[in-house]
């Protein structure tokens, strides 16, 4: 501390303090929508109150809004559907991207470059832009209004393939050659040698995949129809519409927290892993 004081002359120090104060103020204002969500979800807001926007917790927390949310909305089913969709997509993706990533990283074959560019196409063509023809495809495959219909277009991931290609390239070939010399089959070599070594890449991809499909809205909205096929995001919008009309802001806050909460908690707990995987993959 002392050395620092000696290094900075007085006006410089006040300038620094001012900048810190400014940043803190900015971050606080930035966080108000989230703070409001936390406070309002457990706060008793009387009907017709003009004070719904208050950020002051009144220290008499109520769980009435959460109870209402579970009573009025089918949150349990929405959670189950969302978990099935996100985990289902991830399981298939992990297989497809490991195999294809290995082929692009390690093998020489005819048409490799052309195929590589064909894969690259999907990078910017996020499925939302293809909603119209993709919905037709899902209808044709008989998957309309089903959870597999929500999952299917994401089973292959160009991002994932590139990520795994990059990851495999950082692993020295010696490991594979040693395994093959020791009599491992190709499948064993992938499963027992490469996959464990490629874990950082797989984890990074998993976090991004889970986050983005948990948050996905437009596509599940397009390909499902019946209430029992709704995922959290779709359920939330239909649920919130009526709560908003009733100006039941505590309920809106609680329902939103129920949908966003799991990811916020996961992010708070595993911040480093989240940030690394966002950076690692670039595009969500």
């Amino acid at each position: 501390m002392k050395t620092r004081r000696a290094r900075f002359p007085a006006p410089r120090r006040t300038l620094r303090l001012l900048a810190v104060a400014l940043l803190c103020g900015f971050a606080l204002i930035w966080s108000t929508p989230l703070l409001w969500m936390l406070v309002a979800s457990v706060r008793d807001i009387p009907f017709g109150s003009t004070d719904a926007a208050s950020l002051m917790p009144d220290f008499k927390p109520t769980n009435a809004h959460f109870a209402d949310a579970f009573a009025q909305g089918d949150f349990v089913r929405w959670y189950v559907n969302t978990l099935l969709v996100t985990l289902g997509i991830l399981m298939v993706q992990l297989v497809t991207i490991t195999l294809a990533g290995y082929a692009f990283a390690r093998m020489e074959f005819r048409g490799k470059n052309l195929l590589f560019y064909l894969f690259l196409l999907q990078l910017t063509l996020a499925p939302p832009i293809l909603i119209v023809p993709n919905t037709l495809m899902i209808v044709r495959l008989g998957l309309y209004d089903s959870l597999p219909g929500i999952m299917a277009p994401y089973f292959a991931s160009a991002f994932g393939v590139f990520l795994m290609r990059q990851t495999f390239k950082t692993i020295p070939r010696d490991f594979e050659e040693a395994a093959i010399l020791d009599g491992a089959s190709f499948a064993q070599m992938i499963r027992l040698v490469l996959v464990p070594l490629a874990r950082p890449g797989l984890i990074a991809f998993s976090i991004v995949s889970l986050t983005s499909h948990w948050n996905e809205f437009l596509w599940p909205l397009m390909v499902t129809d019946s209430p029992d096929k709704m995922v959290l995001t779709v359920g939330l919008t239909s649920f919130v519409r009526s709560a908003e009309q009733a100006a039941d802001w505590g309920l809106v806050a609680a329902a939103t927290l129920l949908v966003a909460g799991p990811l916020l908690v996961a992010f708070a707990l595993f911040q480093r892993q989240f940030v690394n995987s966002f950076l690692f993959t670039g595009i969500k």
Binding site: L99, A100, T124, A156, F217
Partner: protein, 314 residues
């Protein structure tokens, strides 16, 4: 024949054998590669290539009454270009794009530079700024439905304390698009900041030390060292930001549905409405073809940038 081969093998073992081995190896590896790539390729075929081709054929197919195809032509494009809503959506998307991309990237750079030192306070502030990134866009939208509520909402409630009168942010065609822009900046700036922080870490501290010794102040160091060296990072962020501006519309659907009077209607929402609400798949397909073409040219133009960004290990 066989003898000749053996002879050759004896005479030039070193030359011949590796070449032969390489050839068989590559034959095996081609068929293996085929099987490794088959699942991904098949799925991409079903859900990317076929849909692109389908959008193309649908865009140039003409339909009679009852959806029966009656021929091919550019009728769908003609109808699309004759639709004032389409041009309005294109213009809105441009305003929305500029209004979102530039401020969020500037904010990301300023915050990244301000918070780059690894202190505990900075870590906390960074977390606060990044939180909206993991929120579902629809959850952001439902939150902002309250934030932007005229009179009682979070924004107006606190602006009233400063003596600013209530505004119908989402209800007025003059402010609705800016409200949507504000929401998008809030949602995405933290994400871009993460890349800026990673980019800053890659700048050798010696450069700043040397410039300091030469008497360069913080401002000139920022413009002469930091900014030029961040250029690849910024190019990468720019590409993601543009993609986001075209492909993210959940908040528009939830909050405004493109209204009031088309003021927040952007291209993907236009496509969604044409296909889903107006049942005009030909016009939707024509608009899809145009968006796909735009995104494909972007991805071709930015291949290098994207691939470099793919492995931003920090």
């Amino acid at each position: 024949m066989a003898q000749a081969l053996t002879e050759a093998a004896i005479l030039a073992p070193r030359l011949e054998r590796p070449a032969q081995a390489r050839r068989t190896h590559s034959a095996i590896s081609t068929s293996l590669a085929f099987w490794l790539l088959a699942p991904s390729f098949f799925l991409l075929f079903l859900f990317t290539y076929v849909p692109i081709l389908e959008a193309l054929t649908q865009a140039v197919s003409l339909e009679g009454f009852g959806g029966k195809p009656i021929g091919y032509g550019l009728g769908n494009f003609q109808r699309l270009f004759a639709d004032a809503s389409f041009w309005k959506a294109l213009w809105n998307n441009l305003v929305y794009g500029l209004g979102t991309v530039a401020p969020s990237i500037i904010l990301a750079v300023v915050l990244g530079v301000a918070l780059q030192e690894a202190t505990r306070l900075n870590a906390l502030l960074r977390t606060m700024i990044v939180f909206p990134v993991v929120l579902p866009l629809v959850a952001v939208a439902t939150l902002f439905a309250f934030v932007l509520m005229p009179g009682v909402g979070l924004l107006d409630h606190h602006l009233a304390k400063l003596g600013i009168a209530a505004t119908n942010w989402l209800g007025s065609p003059d402010t609705a698009l800016y409200a949507i822009i504000g929401l998008s900046i809030w949602k995405n700036a933290g994400y871009y900041m993460l890349f800026v922080l990673a980019g800053l870490q890659a700048i050798a501290p010696e450069l700043h030390e040397a410039a300091k010794l030469d008497g360069a102040g913080p401002v000139s160091r920022f413009f002469r060292i930091t900014l030029p060296l961040l250029k690849p990072t910024l190019a990468f962020i720019l590409v993601i930001a543009i993609i986001n501006v075209v492909t993210q519309i959940d908040h528009v659907i939830v909050l405004t549905g493109g209204g009031p009077s088309d003021s927040t209607n952007i291209i993907l929402n236009y496509i969604f409405q044409a296909a889903h609400q107006q049942g005009d798949s030909g016009r939707a397909a024509a608009a899809t073809v145009i968006s796909v073409a735009a995104l494909l040219s972007l991805s071709v133009a930015s291949l290098r940038t994207l691939e470099r960004g793919m492995h931003y290990e920090s």
